[in-house]
Amino acid sequence: MTISGRVWAFGDNVSADNGIIQYSQVPDLGSFDIPALKAMLFVLLDPDFPQKVGEGDIVVAGRNFGHHSHPHACVAMRESGIRACVVESTDSAFIRKGLNNGLPIVPCPGIMQIAGTGDRLEVDLVSGVARNSKTGEERRFRPYAESMLQVWRLGGLAPALKERVSAAGL
């Protein structure tokens, strides 16, 4: 199953809490205020981003993407229509927070060399390939394990747990 979409590219060191969103400006940390989160998505880097982003888009970014994260950044991206993040590097906690919210985030060294804003990218989590639809250039990444793919296919942690609990008879 391939994710295909329009690319928005960002640079290095985009922090989750002070870059993807502004955690200190989230009105209520105890719940996800979706309109507020969507309105602050990437505005520190691109003030019009919330108006431009759309369903099925893909974020491409440089090194150290999403460090110091709370899950709010992932919820903001998913609710704004973003379906994958393909980045030079990120931390494991952010991969988890993304996947748990149904948003795959993959470290893929070299991605910035083959994809920029406006390109179309195809991302195959099973085979571990990101491909620029126009130029055909590819970069490989470590494919998600089957248990991770299951979480992604079912849309996040909660539905995936329900499925597994039912299968395990717990």
């Binding site: 150290n64 990120t90 494991s92 906690a93 470590r142 248990s147 329900k162």
Partner: protein, 429 residues
Amino acid sequence: MRRMGQSVVQKIIARAAGRETVEPGEYVTVTPDYTCCQDISWPARKRIMEQAGVTRLAHPEKLVLVVDHTTAAGMGSPYHRNHGEMRDFAEKHGANYFGPGSGLRHQVLVEQGFARPGTLVFSDEPNIASIGVVGALNIAISTEVVVTSVLNENWMVVPRPIRFTLTGRLAEGVHIRDLAQAIIRDYAETDLLSQGCIEYDGEGVAGLSLDERQTLLACTYHAGPDTALMPVDEAALAYTRSRADGRPFEVFEADADAEYAYEASFDLGALEPLVTVPPELHTVSPVGEVAGLRIDQAAIGTCANGRMDDLRAAASILRGRRIARHVTFYVTPGSREIYAQAGREGLLSILAEAGATILAPGCTTCWGYEGVLNDGEVSISTHQMNYHGRNGSRLARAYLASPITVAASALAGAIVDPRGDPALRRDAA
């Protein structure tokens, strides 16, 4: 095929995965020894389990529930309900429960002997890497604590092994916390440590107490890695034996041909007192550059600096002296055991007589649950975070430093360089 040399983190994960070896970057399924959760996010975790139709846990004895974020659930606070819900859940399922005042998860895990050499702990916080002091591996998985609680397994990424070698000894007035802040300054804005596990070693480690090692481990995540470990030496082993209560453990050492993705060396003797300037963690200044800034609040505690050595350091500065009149000073022992020991050593009375407010063991001021800051107020503390709004008002400013610098600043009423304080010389003599 040549067997690749394995570092300590790889060996711990290989054991938990039932494998001979694992490769850095690999996604593997592992069975943890324990899963540890806190109170503030418990209702959300419980809701996910209920929605999934969970009726029993695969291994309830592996679940450790600790009330540490909302110890003082007073009138008007919604948190007393969490305490009750956690306690009832633990009772119903046979899980481990440590109620308000027991201490931070970081501390409960080592004191109660859950964290032992070679154990893998899935927790809801990366700073619990402090359990690496006894060679236990913390992997922070946030909401997925429900997965491991229920199913007794989960996926993880094998971290890239990183080696940090410590040499030398800390100078007077300098604390291991200063090294933690220097590492964050140098690495947080890079990806050199990303998806890594720092394995500390070197003669510098041998000169550090177990408390000091936990300070460094608890802060390391903010520099970028997933987790961190210390070598299990005689001191760590003796502590483990006193806590394990017969439960098994296995000490792993890195193979001589283990490969590290990145290596660096740090001379403890070359460090100076540092202050992290808000609102970022990587903006760190020598204390001299911010000295003289008037403070309203000082706080010592947290998973970084709530241990005996931290309280002793603060008391040695404050013995027989009185903090500045305009300063509110909170001290939070990291656990009930530390609280009691600090009492036996006379530290609590020294701190109280100096003007400190001693809080019940827990996270307290670190996330603004207690000691809330007003607009324009300035604090200096051993907290872990400093972003705007962390401790109350978004217009307050939160500076971070070692317990020595914090205690000296509380005394002066302004940020000061603790070196040269007569109390330090008195102690040295």
